[in-house]
């Protein structure tokens, strides 16, 4: 398939030039070509007016291209400094760690990075790991720095720091090329110019000062996008879910969830805002019956389901949309029909005496495909051939079609493009109007704030507060996600 079709653009020294495009617009392919991982079938790359030909990443690195991967390519068990000098030409024979340390520290000071070079990489946060990758590229003498989704895994404070560092680097005549899927505010905040890709072609290159969020979104999607989702008010009914003093351990055996209590009523979206790794995953798994509790109680419609298995909870009316679509939410080698069966194999209406009614599941799958507009050749294709957005549509449809009493939506729009995000949010709103209770967990603050009837910022396994939707202030919730309560005057 042609992923990149006649792409032309240029990057100037000292410029921050964002590449913007939805999933499947050809960003990854372009990035890999620029970094020498793929060879273009046609076309040429010039660096400083010289025609270059990358046979591998090494050629690209030698010519001053640095890459900061979204999925970090670091050795977790090694220290920061070891990771930075790994593969450095001067580290070939005898290591001069102290000299490297001095030089790296200079780089850190120059661009405002604050990192302990002796720390092991596995101990670092996502933001710190990214800093390691940036330092690694800079230390190898990169003049053009490609950043893949630079802010996707960062906390708000980390994002701000990164943006400052990026600006400092640009002042030093480095060219910075961030590739971004959907964080339009970031594009507007830092870049000097922006190139928008759609379906493998450059649709436009413009100066950022001439662009707005709306115009960029239009260029990306090719049509007008409605940004503000109207939160419809629904009469709140009975309490569906009641959680009392729920505690659970993380996989490392540490307290991840510390006495959390809340309840959700019919027709309500309860949003949990927070940065990844503050107990959201554990909370979701505890509710779905996939994690043992340290203490606490879970009531669904007044019934105690604390001891129920995952299957019993499905049958009791919990519908869980997991964050990890590929490893948890679907089975890649299974057909779409078999994937639909994941939420239906236990349903009496779809089986007879231990035999699954595949015909019925197939027609259900066909309905889902048409109703939700899943792009696929047919119900017999494998799930792994679907794109992220289409897979999410399938999972969402599969779960919502059961008409669950409680929907648990964990990062439902993560990694989706604008069109699919809009779709998923609308479907959650529809479920709310049909009187389901919805638990929405998201790292996208704007998403939580615009959808939720009540918002609970989570930090280190505790709710900082539970705030009714109309009283929410963005700044104070953002601060609470970082564990800080703002004074009223500061807001």
């Amino acid at each position: 398939m042609i992923a990149n079709d006649q792409i032309d653009f240029e990057i100037k020294a000292g410029e921050i030039h964002a590449i913007l495009g939805e999933n499947g617009a050809g960003k990854t392919t372009l990035m890999k070509i620029l970094f020498g991982e793929y060879q273009p079938d046609e076309g040429e790359i010039y660096i400083s007016r010289k025609l270059v030909n990358f046979r591998s990443c090494l050629d690209a690195i030698d010519l001053g291209i640095g890459m900061v991967h979204q999925h970090r390519k670091l050795v977790p068990a090694h220290s920061v400094i070891e990771n930075i000098i790994l593969g450095h030409p001067r580290a070939g024979t005898i290591l001069n760690i102290s000299r490297a340390e001095k030089e790296i520290n200079e780089l850190c000071q120059k661009y405002g990075f604050n990192i302990d070079l002796k720390a092991k990489v596995w101990q670092l946060s996502e933001g710190e790991k990214q800093v390691v990758e940036i330092l690694k590229a800079l230390y190898r003498g990169a003049e053009i720095l490609i950043l893949d989704e630079p802010t996707s895994a960062l906390a708000p404070t980390e994002t701000e720091k990164l943006l400052e560092s990026i600006k400092a680097m640009a002042k030093d005549d480095l060219a910075i090329v961030p590739f971004i899927t959907h964080k339009l505010p970031i594009v507007l905040a830092i870049s000097d110019r922006v190139t928008v890709l759609r379906r493998g072609r450059v649709v436009s290159t413009m100066d950022t000062k001439d662009a707005t969020e709306r115009s960029l979104a239009m260029e990306m999607v090719g049509r007008e996008v409605i940004f503000r989702l109207e939160r419809t008010e629904v009469e709140k009914g009975e309490t569906i879910l009641e959680v009392k003093d729920l505690s659970a351990l993380s996989n490392k055996g540490l307290i991840a969830l510390d006495s959390v209590s809340f309840s959700i009523r019919e027709g309500e979206i309860f949003g949990i805002a927070g940065i990844a790794g503050n107990g959201q995953g554990e909370l979701v798994e505890a509710l779905a019956g996939l994690r043992n509790l340290e203490g606490g109680k879970i009531l669904l419609d007044g019934q105690d389901i604390t001891q129920s298995t995952a299957l019993e909870r499905w049958q009791a009316g919990i519908g869980y949309i997991p964050a990890d679509r590929i490893h948890v939410g679907s089975i890649g080698d299974f057909s779409l029909v078999e994937n639909t069966a994941m939420n239906y194999y236990f349903d009496e209406a779809y089986s007879r005496k231990g035999t699954l009614d595949y015909d019925k599941i197939r027609s259900l799958t066909e309905e889902i495909i048409t109703e939700y507009g899943v792009l696929t050749p047919g119900p017999d294709t494998t799930a792994k051939s679907l794109s992220g957005g289409n897979l999410q549509k399938l999972i969402l449809a599969r779960v919502l079609s059961r008409k669950p009493r409680l929907v648990i939506a964990h990062l439902p729009t993560q990694g989706l493009d604008i069109g699919a995000t809009e779709f998923v949010r609308n479907k959650l709103m529809e479920a709310k109007q049909e009187n389901a209770g919805i638990l929405l967990i998201s790292e996208d603050l704007d998403e939580v704030l615009s959808l939720s009837d009540r918002v609970a910022p989570i930090y280190e396994g505790r709710f900082m507060d539970i705030i009714p939707g109309h009283e929410v202030k963005r700044e104070s919730v953002g601060a609470m996600c970082a564990g800080i309560y703002l004074d009223e005057e500061e807001v």
Binding site: A288, G289, L290, T309, A310, L311, E312, R313, W314, Y320, P322, D324, H327, V328, G329, S330, I331, G332, D333, F334, E338, A341, M342, N343, Y345, F346, S351, G354, T355, L356, Y358
Partner: protein, 377 residues
């Protein structure tokens, strides 16, 4: 790669139909036979003649064919015993142990009824034969369940557990049948007591009735995986255990169940070989040989890609070649081990050809013509 004006390129296959897989396997078998003919040539024997002897004895000879069929039943049961856990993503390396345990349980029934070593018994065969069948299956299932339980409850690697149990059971058999053991043959020949004549398994048209159970198991398993709820759950667990538990499929129940089912079939193979095959009717002195042969269940299961129906022809071929190989070795005066060497070459070639399950070779002519000469079509 270029040859003349043609260019060859490897391409990944998007999908593989059953027939395409079968034709690749048949092609692999032909290649294996061609390769193995080198051994005959080095031994100064005309390979065509050797193969004619092998195939005619194994598949057409009135003495050879029943031997082939008995081995086929044994291999098919072991293949199914491997396939059930395999579809759940688990590796049963313990068919050997489960097979021994099944044999011991079957003979244990005789011991319990006090007819160990007696040449006749008054107790009805209608009672004892079903009891021996059930005992053999339960014995195998018990040994299997240990691995399944350990996997499900404590996530202990099933390969290690089944492998270790093989050794334990091997020596347990030895302990029971050799000098002083409970099942010792009165003659003290290092084998178990013999089955009374009246308890020999019924035979129809030179074939023991166990063939019905073996074929039935393969067909039922195929149906189970294709249509039933349980089969779906096993497959889901096998392809993605995380997603399976998300969907409410028990991480404990599935490993336990597949090992119980697999163990039961391997245990039943124990009944088949030591209590149903004509001319044996005892736990033989060379019981280790049949234990090793049980490993061929892994090979047959893998070659048939976990499809119980495909395991039928594969087990038949392996059964026949092992019998025919042994025969030709004696007849043509070759050195020891021709049968296992032949199975070995066949196995390696079949495994190597699985490469073509995922890739195909595409041939271009210079004029951009797109000829698909996949090996094999």
């Amino acid at each position: 790669m270029k040859i003349g004006s043609y260019q060859f390129k490897l391409e990944q296959r998007a999908s593989l139909t059953g027939w395409r897989a079968a034709s690749i396997s048949i092609f692999a078998i032909v290649v294996a036979l061609v390769l193995f003919s080198l051994i005959f040539i080095f031994a100064g024997i005309n390979p065509l003649l050797a193969y004619r002897e092998i195939f005619s004895y194994a598949f057409f000879n009135p003495f050879g064919l029943p031997l082939t069929l008995n081995r086929f039943i044994f291999l098919l049961l072991c293949s199914c015993a491997f396939i059930i856990p395999y579809r759940a993503g688990l590796w049963n390396i313990g068919m050997t142990g489960q097979f021994y345990f099944g044999s011991l349980a079957a003979f244990g029934v005789l011991y319990v009824f006090g007819i160990g070593g007696a040449s006749e018994t008054q107790i009805s065969a209608w009672l004892l034969i079903p009891l021996m069948l059930i005992a053999a299956s339960l014995g195998g299932a018990f040994l299997g369940s240990i691995a399944g339980f350990m996997k499900g409850r404590f996530n202990v690697n099933e390969i290690v557990v089944t492998m270790m149990l093989n050794f334990i059971t091997f020596w347990l058999v030895s302990f029971l049948i050799k000098e002083g053991g409970l099942f010792m043959n009165p003659g003290g020949r290092g084998e178990s007591f013999e089955l009374p004549n009246s308890l020999r398994a019924p035979i129809f048209l030179d074939v023991t009735f166990t063939i019905i159970i073996a074929l039935g198991a393969a067909v039922l398993l195929f149906y189970m995986f294709a249509r039933t709820k349980l089969g779906y759950q096993i497959r889901a667990y096998g392809k993605n255990p995380e997603a399976a538990s998300y969907a409410g499929i028990s991480k404990f129940r599935i490993p336990l169940l597949v090992f119980i089912m697999g163990g039961a079939l391997a245990g039943f193979a124990g009944y088949h070989y030591f209590a149903a095959v004509p001319g044996v009717y005892k736990i033989a002195r060379n019981y280790g040989f049949f234990g090793d042969l049980a490993f061929y269940g892994i090979i047959c299961g893998l070659i048939s890609q976990g499809n119980p129906l495909a395991a039928i022809p594969v087990a038949f071929l392996f059964g026949g070649l092992s019998i025919g190989g042994r025969f030709v070795q004696g007849k043509l005066g070759m050195s020891f081990g021709v049968d296992f060497a032949l199975l070995g070459v066949l196995m390696i070639t079949l495994v190597a050809f699985q490469f073509f399950y995922r890739y195909k070779i595409v041939c271009f002519k210079k004029q951009e013509e797109h000829l698909d000469v996949g090996i094999p079509h």
